[in-house]
Structure formats: structure tokens, C-alpha cells
């Protein structure tokens, strides 16, 4: 009986995701650079544990990032990023909720690279802003690759830069994103 229930629930969940065309990954990558032109040291970070779901039917998509998963070259910089700038204990996650605005131009069933416009709400440091981000979607069989590169103005998210390091940290961080998804 128990086996039957498990089988049934797996079946229904499987059927649901199949129906809704949702693809998901937990290993999308986001990197950013906020190195000012005059800075002697690089202020770069990488996060390989980004969660992403795309609904290939509706074009809805979400990204979720644990801020503490960003890795820096310098351990002290990483600590300061979490402690002083992002306040990761207070705001552990950064999120994006949005949708592909030009779904008419994107065909998830045909191989090719499509230019996509994604609009939605980006939440960083507890502050939510409406953003519009251009990117590309590459379809190859049942695999999809999402790529985007966009600027984020730190002040828009109430991330304060103290005067001492103002010459090192750029006021605008450049975010690079890549997500590889496979339809199962």
C-alpha cells in the first residue's frame, strides 16, 4: 500500500511538471565585479549554487541566491561583503521573480539562440526594484542555456560604501549570469 502511494505521488508530480513545462537547476552561476578603475585589488565574486526555475510554457522564471554562497578570492573581503555590505544574516537571500516579456520571439521547442527581454522584480539586501534585463536563451534539444549581463547600482539597494573604500568599490556592479537547464 505504501509503495502504491509513493508510486502514485511520484507519478502525479511527474505528470504535473511535465504538463507545466518547468525546468529547474540548483547550480546556475552568478558572478559579479564591483572593482573600481583605481582599485589595486579585484572585487569579484562567484556563486555556483544559484537556484533557477523556468516555465517554458508561460515564460515565468525565478532565481534565488544565498548571499553567503558568494566566494571571493580574499576571505576577509567575503566576510566584509556579508557583514558590512549585504548584511547576510538579516537578508540571507537575493531573488528575482519575473517573466520573459517577448515570449513570441522565443521558441523553446526549436533549436536556436533567441534574444530575450526579461522583466521582473529583483530583491537584493531586502530592497525590491523593478528591472528589465536583456539576455539570450539558447535551446538545444531539451537543454536550455540562459545568459545575461546587467548592471546593478548599489545605492538602489541601499548598499552603502564607506568613504575609506570609495576608490576601490564601483558604485555599479556588473552581474553575469548563466543557467543551464535540462528538461527531464
Amino acid at each position: 500500500m505504501k509503495k502504491f502511494i509513493i508510486a502514485l505521488s511520484i507519478l502525479t508530480i511527474g505528470a504535473n511538471t511535465g504538463f507545466a513545462q518547468k525546468v529547474m537547476t540548483r547550480t546556475a552561476k552568478i558572478s559579479f565585479t564591483a572593482t573600481a578603475a583605481s582599485s589595486p585589488e579585484k572585487i569579484d565574486a562567484i556563486n555556483n549554487e544559484v537556484a533557477n526555475i523556468v516555465d517554458t510554457k508561460t515564460g515565468d522564471l525565478v532565481f534565488q541566491v544565498l548571499v553567503k554562497s558568494f566566494k571571493f578570492e580574499r576571505a576577509l573581503m567575503q566576510e566584509h561583503f556579508n557583514e558590512n555590505y549585504m548584511e547576510s544574516d538579516k537578508f540571507p537571500k537575493a531573488e528575482f521573480k519575473g517573466a520573459i516579456a517577448n515570449m513570441a520571439d522565443v521558441n523553446f521547442t526549436k533549436d536556436g539562440t533567441y534574444n530575450a527581454k526579461v522583466g521582473g522584480k529583483l530583491t537584493i539586501h531586502g530592497v525590491t526594484n523593478d528591472v528589465s534585463v536583456p539576455g539570450t536563451i539558447t535551446v538545444k534539444g531539451n537543454s536550455y542555456t540562459l545568459k545575461a549581463k546587467f548592471p546593478v547600482t548599489l545605492a538602489d539597494y541601499k548598499i552603502a560604501i564607506p568613504g575609506v573604500v570609495a576608490d576601490k568599490i564601483n558604485k555599479v556592479a556588473t552581474i553575469t549570469l548563466e543557467s543551464n537547464l535540462t528538461q527531464k
Binding site: 552561476k29 558572478s31 555556483n48 580574499r74 556579508n82 557583514e83 531573488e95 519575473g98 564607506p162
Partner: protein
């Protein structure tokens, strides 16, 4: 009943999926079971690897080298003619290294008593959110004094081991909230040589330390070592006191400056725990500072390959 339950589950699943919007996609992520449930570690219990004189539970990250310079000036009660003690200073210079995230080693030379010290700090437990309530670390050090041997009466021998001291500490710390951290430090110092046979070679003490953050980059610190035995210990014929230090942590980019007042001119465990010869009561306190500068010697694995090569 079981059938009914499974039916209900199946039904609710299909309903939620049919009405999926981006909000529900977020819920899906949150509820998804494939995510490894790892309890989040509590970080930055203290700003620096030392509270003031003594060690904190903070370890250097793997591959990080820390160059440290500490100064203790003369006593404030030496008066204005000695510039409140600032005319005299003893120095400790040291290099610390993070072998792994949980093991840190270091070498230092202290001008006070011409002492050479090697230590290791091993993290045994790490405080976690909704998990382990404390961070537990072992600290052990050995120090060797390099002063010239005293002139002894005929028939008496001076041994090299007379120059050696051993410190053992357990550091039990808890970050209570973003601003307040506390640390308890059961301590055992073994002196191979003490001034008289009436003293024990072992001094047991309990230390308490803590920090209160004033802002993101400023913190007040304090540390006190209460001796459980050997409270009448003489050091070079002088009376000894329990060590109390108060400090201010100032953090800039790659540096942490620690400004402090302490009744101990010594900067090694064996000197400040058991051989502090000055007392706060008489204003015989020392102004001092610790400066730390870190260098990344071994980069984390994400950065070992040239970053430029990465397309994304």
C-alpha cells in the same frame, strides 16, 4: 484512509501546478527536497583572531597569511615626563597562517622577556543557526625565553628546559546576536620554572572575553583572566595580578586595528595570565595596539585558474 490521503496529495499537487505563477515557482524552490539541508554556520564571532591579548575563536581562512605587529607602551602612571609611558614600548611581531579553515598555526617573537612562541589553534565545533550552540576551539602554545642564563651557585645547573612554558586553552564562544559575542576560556599554563618551590608549576585560570559592536566597523572588546591558584605567584620577585584588558577594534579594508588598555605588558599567554605584575588599581596600565594585515597566499579553488579565461 491511505488512498484518500494520497488522492488528496495528488489533487493538491495538480491544482497548484495548474495555477503556477512566478510566486509559486519561488515556493517550488523553497519546498524542493533536492536541496541539501545544510545548517548555516555562524560567522564573524569576533573581528580578529585575538580578542585583545588572548586568542578568539576566529580562525584565519585556509591559505591566508596574517602579519601581526603589537605594541605595549609603558605604564600610564609613569607620568607626563615619560609621555604617559609612550616613551617605552615592547613589541611582538608574528606570522599566522591558516592551514585549513579549522587549523591555524603561528610563530611570534616578543621583545618582553625575549620570548619565541609557536602556537596552534584547532577548531573543534562551529556554532550553527538552529544547531550547535557554541564554537569550541583548542589553543596550545609553547614558548622559549632567550635571555642569557643567570649566574648560578657552584653545583647548580641551568637547563634549557627552564626557558620553556606551555599554554593550553579551551575557547568556548557564542555569538549571541549580531552585536554581542561572549567567550569563556579555561586555561592551564605550565611554567617549567617558577620563582620558588612553594608555587605550583601549573597555573589554572578562567578567562572571560567579549565584544560589543558599536557600528559595522567598530567594536568594544574586553577580556579578564581569573586565576584559580597561584594567585600569590611572584614573577622576578614581583607580585602578580589578574589580567584585565579593554579595547577598541577598528576595521578598515584589509586591516584590523585594535587599540587597548591592559595591565599586562606581556602579549603571550604565559605572561598575561600568570605573570602580570601591574595593576589597574594603581593606574599601572599600558596603552597598546595590535595591527593585523592579511594576505591571500593560496587562493580559493574558484579563483585558481585565471579569471579572465572564464567565458561566463
Amino acid at each position: 484512509m491511505n488512498k484518500f490521503t494520497s488522492l488528496l496529495i495528488a489533487l493538491s499537487c495538480s491544482v497548484s501546478a495548474a495555477f503556477a505563477q512566478s510566486n509559486d515557482l519561488m515556493d517550488m524552490l523553497d519546498k524542493d527536497g533536492s536541496k541539501p539541508k545544510k545548517k548555516e554556520e555562524v560567522t564573524a564571532t569576533f573581528k580578529a583572531t585575538r580578542i585583545i591579548n588572548g586568542s578568539s575563536v576566529q580562525n584565519l581562512a585556509a591559505g591566508v597569511l596574517d602579519f601581526r605587529i603589537s605594541h605595549r607602551f609603558g605604564r600610564l602612571d609613569q607620568g607626563l615626563e615619560n609621555f604617559l609611558g609612550l616613551d617605552n614600548a615592547t613589541t611582538k611581531i608574528g606570522l599566522d597562517y591558516g592551514v585549513t579553515d579549522w587549523l591555524m598555526i603561528g610563530l611570534a617573537h616578543s621583545a618582553y622577556n625575549k620570548e619565541n612562541e609557536g602556537f596552534m589553534k584547532v577548531r573543534l565545533l562551529k556554532q550553527k543557526k538552529q544547531g550547535t550552540p557554541i564554537t569550541l576551539t583548542y589553543f596550545g602554545s609553547t614558548s622559549i625565553q632567550t635571555m642569557t642564563a643567570p649566574t648560578l651557585a657552584a653545583g647548580q645547573e641551568w637547563y634549557f628546559t627552564n626557558r620553556m612554558y606551555f599554554s593550553n586553552q579551551l575557547l568556548v564562544a557564542r555569538k549571541l546576536n549580531d552585536n554581542i559575542s561572549l567567550q569563556l576560556m579555561p586555561t592551564l599554563i605550565h611554567y617549567n620554572l617558577v620563582d620558588s618551590t612553594k608555587f605550583s608549576n601549573n597555573t589554572f585560570a578562567v578567562g572571560v572575553g567579549g565584544r560589543i559592536k558599536l557600528s559595522k566597523r567598530l567594536a568594544l572588546t574586553g577580556e579578564y583572566f581569573y586565576r584559580l591558584n597561584n594567585t600569590d605567584l611572584l614573577f622576578n620577585g614581583q607580585r602578580t595580578y589578574n589580567a584585565l584588558a579593554l579595547g577598541l577594534d577598528i576595521e578598515t579594508g584589509g586591516h584590523v586595528f585594535q587599540l587597548l588598555f591592559s595591565n599586562s605588558p606581556g602579549m603571550t599567554e604565559r605572561t598575561f595570565v600568570g605573570q602580570t605584575t601591574d595593576t589597574w588599581e594603581k593606574g599601572a596600565i599600558h596603552f597598546g595596539f595590535n595591527v593585523s594585515r592579511v594576505f591571500t597566499v593560496v587562493k580559493p579553488k574558484e579563483f585558481r585558474k585565471s579569471a579572465e579565461k572564464k567565458e561566463w
